[in-house]
């Protein structure tokens, strides 16, 4: 009996909590991806690089002596501006062609290649690790947890709820949902569809940047960090249902727990194939994912 309790306290408990912290960050990223897909029908292959850019911006600002908490506010704003510009300068150019699915995918894929090499050029191949802004650890239910991870879970959870409220409880969110469902009708009611597109893309990019900042003190910051993370985010989006917020939250929590717990039993080399296998399985069995499109819940 005590053995079971001890393994819960010292082995499974911390693993579940760590999985939760990562899960919150993955969900923030997946939310950006899924909202962009739900509204614009664009698979943003450079989403991982936007996440990395957020982390690098934080590293740079902290290096300049800027307070980490200020970074947490500044970086998403900067990322939103970058996202807005990206949508107007790139996505818009091919958006009205018949092949916009593949052309936007190729464009953002090209952007990802450029960004990754640009990170290497600007910061070198070695990882940075910003110091955690909250030190110490607390005991919850007998499980010792770093305070920063507790903060991450709380703050990330609050942001996820806020995103849901914005999309489902405000007129701004109604504009986004309307444009996702029926672009022409939304426009004929006066919704500035083009600006809603750019704004939504910017919002998704800002979320990716925000999760980059939040995760920087836990993981290191390095040029391929986006690529390493993006597969998980895509899996969450596909399993949750492309465009679904609720689905992304559920899938994000479940998948990161699977990854976290399984790492107790299998080598980390196999954690990616495991996640990928789940994605393939869902595409075969239930291609629509757990929940429907944007606006469905």
């Amino acid at each position: 009996m005590t053995e079971i309790l001890e393994s819960l306290q010292f082995v499974y408990g911390p693993q579940v909590a760590n999985g939760l912290a990562i899960g919150v960050a993955v969900i923030l990223m997946a939310l950006g991806l899924t909202i962009i897909f739900g509204l614009l029908d664009v698979i943003n292959m450079s989403h991982g690089e936007f996440y990395a850019l957020g982390a690098y911006l934080a590293v740079t600002l902290v290096g300049q002596g800027v307070n980490f908490w200020l970074c947490l506010a500044l970086v998403p704003v900067a990322m939103a501006a970058i996202g807005y510009f990206t949508e107007r300068a790139l996505i818009q150019r091919v958006f009205h062609t018949k092949d916009r699915h593949i052309l936007t995918l190729l464009l953002t894929f090209g952007l990802a290649i450029i960004a990754e090499d640009a990170f290497k050029l600007a910061y070198g191949p070695n990882p940075y690790k910003p110091e955690s802004p909250i030190s110490g650890a607390s005991e919850i239910l007998g499980i010792m947890l770093p305070n920063y991870r507790l903060f991450l879970i709380a703050a990330g959870g609050a942001i996820i709820v806020a995103v849901w409220l914005v999309v489902y409880r405000t007129t701004l969110g109604a504009m986004v949902r309307a444009a996702a469902w029926d672009k022409n009708m939304a426009a004929s009611l006066g919704v500035p569809v083009e600006r809603v597109y750019a704004g939504t893309f910017a919002f998704g990019v800002a979320l990716a940047g925000l999760s980059g900042v939040l995760l920087a003190p836990i993981y290191s910051v390095f040029p391929t960090m986006g690529k390493d993370f993006i597969l998980m985010a895509f899996t969450v989006v596909i399993v949750g249902g492309m465009g679904s917020i609720k689905g992304a939250v559920i899938a994000g929590l479940v998948l990161t727990q699977i990854q976290s717990i399984s790492s107790l039993f299998i080598s980390p080399v196999w954690s990616d194939p495991l996640v990928f296998g789940i994605m393939v399985l869902f595409l075969m069995v239930r291609p629509q994912g757990l929940a429907g499109r944007l606006g469905h819940g």
Binding site: I43, M45, L90, R93, V94, T97, K98, D99, H101, I102, L103, L105, L106, L107, F109, G110, L111, I113, I114, E116, D117, A118, K120, L121, K227, L231, F234, T235, I238, P268, V269, W270, D272, P273, F276, M279, V280, L283, M284, P287
Partner: protein, 349 residues
């Protein structure tokens, strides 16, 4: 236009004329490619060069990959973001064969051929269930997963790759070519790549090739098990073409999708005219594109190692401004010169 027997004959004649003009245009470009390659080989051999030979050989190998991507994207409209997986796989298999089993070139290419075909069937089995963007995501994920797995496997050399692969001699019965000879290896690669080109060009004119194009024209075609099986075969075929890539010294970075993505530069967007089964695509564009790209990479490489920034930018610019690709730009102009009688592509049907 009324659907009378006369108009139907007229349409058919126009289509046939178009196809002949297309084949002619492709043939002219492919012939010019071989001629240029031979002129280059003569000049380079006379001046005792090795650097440009290596570069040109690399370009030819890249052309093979590009043709494979083009076969999928250009003809069936399926975008594979994980094609470098097969490239890297071929290289690893041949390296292992040469190192541990037999130093024979033909053994290496035979085993790689078979193994790549098998992998193609497996990968096709997984990926072909998804369409459009999902296909792209699955192939992307597949390549990522395999890359990471290989990268973390010490038995395969991890991040250093496999080292100590013997230099080989390619036996042709009457004569043999040393793989370390720049001229000889260049010519061997040229022969293989042009044979691959001829085989694919022929394949695309067969009923099977037309079926491939029909896959893109009709999304519901995937419901037909027969087409599905054929599509899987195509997956295998494309990877068989990949076997020769083993000739190259294997490096783990070959397995990075970024490289193949950049390789797709010249022929992306040839799939623009979807829904038009009679419209032909231009495999020959992949040959020229690969050469242009390798040349660019080398030039950029002389002043920065971060060539992906520039290649990536070119890639994006061509998606935006040249969506029909290099061949899509050149060929209609060539056709107007060589076969003025034929109509514009795609309008004959």
């Amino acid at each position: 236009m009324a659907d009378t027997p006369a108009t139907r004959v007229a349409v058919r004649t126009a289509v046939a004329a178009n196809e002949r003009a297309d084949a002619l245009g492709d043939g002219v470009l492919a012939g010019a490619f071989v001629a240029l390659a031979l002129v280059f080989a003569a000049v380079a051999a006379a001046s005792g060069d090795t650097f440009f030979f290596r570069l040109a050989t690399e370009a030819l190998i890249l052309a093979g990959v590009a043709m494979a991507v083009d076969l999928l994207l250009g003809y069936t409209g399926l975008l594979s973001l994980g094609h470098a997986l097969f490239f890297g796989f071929g290289a690893y298999v041949s390296a292992l064969v040469l190192k541990h089993w037999s130093p024979s070139f033909w053994a290496a290419i035979g085993v790689t051929f078979a193994a790549a075909a098998l992998l193609g069937v497996v990968a096709g089995f997984i990926a072909i269930r998804a369409r459009g963007v999902y296909f792209a995501l699955i192939t992307f994920g597949l390549a990522q997963v395999v890359f990471k797995a290989v990268y973390n496997t010490r038995e395969l050399g991890g991040s250093d790759g496999i080292i100590g692969i013997p230099q080989i001699r390619v036996e042709f019965g009457l004569f043999s070519v040393q793989a370390s000879s720049p001229l000889g290896f260049f010519l061997v690669t040229l022969v293989f790549v042009m044979l691959l080109y001829a085989a694919l060009a022929w394949l695309m004119r067969t009923p099977f090739g037309r079926l491939l194009v029909a896959i893109r024209a009709n999304e519901s075609a995937r419901a037909l098990p027969g087409i599905l099986a054929l599509a899987r075969q195509a997956g295998g075929l494309r990877d068989r073409g990949r076997g020769r890539r083993a000739l190259r010294q294997p490096v783990p970075h070959a397995a990075r999708p970024g490289v193949a993505g950049a390789a797709g530069l010249p022929d992306i967007g040839q799939r623009r005219d979807h829904g038009h089964p009679r419209r032909r695509r231009h495999l020959v564009g992949a040959l020229y594109g690969a050469v242009i790209l390798t040349g660019l990479k080398s030039v950029i490489g002389t002043w920065t190692e971060h060539h992906l920034i520039i290649i990536g930018a070119l890639f994006m610019l061509s998606v935006i401004f040249l969506p029909k690709g290099f061949a899509g730009y050149v060929l209609p102009r060539l056709r107007r010169r060589f076969a003025p009688g034929a109509g514009k592509p795609g309008e004959g049907a």
